[in-house]
Symmetry: C2
Subunit: 227 residues, 2 copies
Amino acid sequence: MAKKNRKTCDVPDATIHRLPLYLEKLKMLQAIGVEDVSSRQLAESLDIKASQLRHDFHYFGGFSRPGRPYQVTKLVPALEKIIGISVPQPTAIIGAGHLGQALANYQNLDLQGFPVKGIFDTNPKLIGLEMRGQPVQDMDDLEAVIQREGIKIAILTVPATQAQVVADRLVAAGVIGIFNFAPTDLKVPEGVAVRNERLAVGIMSLSFKVKCILQAQEGEDAQAEEL
Amino acid sequence: MAKKNRKTCDVPDATIHRLPLYLEKLKMLQAIGVEDVSSRQLAESLDIKASQLRHDFHYFGGFSRPGRPYQVTKLVPALEKIIGISVPQPTAIIGAGHLGQALANYQNLDLQGFPVKGIFDTNPKLIGLEMRGQPVQDMDDLEAVIQREGIKIAILTVPATQAQVVADRLVAAGVIGIFNFAPTDLKVPEGVAVRNERLAVGIMSLSFKVKCILQAQEGEDAQAEEL
DNA sequence: GCTGTATGGTTAATTAAATAACAGCGTGGC
DNA sequence: GCCACGCTGTTATTTAATTAACCATACAGC
């Protein structure tokens, strides 16, 4: 049994990152009443190859059988189970600065299976403020709330200087997944997953491509003048 | 010449995404007065292989020569030039909701070469509010500001329903790089770069790993009981 | 009932990325 | 002067991811 579990977890990162996209698109289809969808239809709407989609699904044994398209109403819960959000996954936000507030107010978090069960900060001016119906709490209560609510996933939006200290406390309190928005690499023990979300990487890689586009246009202009 | 430019742009995405990490770490080294750094040192601090780092640098012709380590003071501006931030890259934020506010107040944007030269929204309650020294402007002024400031990169933090309409306006006004935070795929003409930043993908892939860790622990516990 | 067409599962082939290996250079010690 | 060591640039190898090809099944039309 454990062997089977390990098998469904030995999946490439690239595939894992596509699962939320599949789920999102399928939920849309479900919302507009679509019952069946073929791998080709779903893949085309996501701008990927159908064979890749089927290959991804194959890691989990497949969700249909030859000759039959996928049934949206069965695929959605199947993916939710694989992703781990069949039951809501209580989440905490650490750091109620602008970014923390933005995430706390991002209602899709709740809708997508990650209800925010605690918002924390050290700033006395923020503590007590209500965000989405719940008050910002003092960091002193961090461990108590995490354990009471059974929180396994935390969103870290504190300054880089404090990120490691807070992460250590989170891990000690039982958190095993940290969504890190601080521009720092966290050191965590084995058995804890970290995902770093770096704004700088995103905008800089975009800048690189913009620079390339501009250079290409200049190149074309120069070429045009030469003629 | 155009050929050389094209060459420096024909680089794998995986490499492009590492350039900001290199730059960030090098700036840290520069700040504490480090002059030289070897590929091994730099790679180890980023938890990657030295051969990968040299391989990445090789796409751009290399930044040193055999026998000599990299000079931090030369590498930093070289990477900045490659990324396209030798001169500040004026940027606009479209959508002054919570996320837009968070990004507008994220001072690192300025420091890292992306000064915010315009913040826009349609909500009359937000227009005029000051954020980081500049007022939220009416969307009606979007095109004028983009052209006056020469903005090529825009950060899109509007609701998904409006994302495409706004993107079309941005492109028409001359923007060629869109950092899209709306959970929608944008259709843009060739010669425009889009980077989608999806919160949902990040937290769901984290959830997947958390689920796997929990299952592995249960497996171990079960195994322990069997003994 | 049969056939043509479309479907997903599965395996093979291709492509891309990460890693290792090597060649040539520079420096410091003796 | 020369040798040992460490360094980068470059190429080769290995590994991973993507794409294509194929097979067996299901269904619609006749």
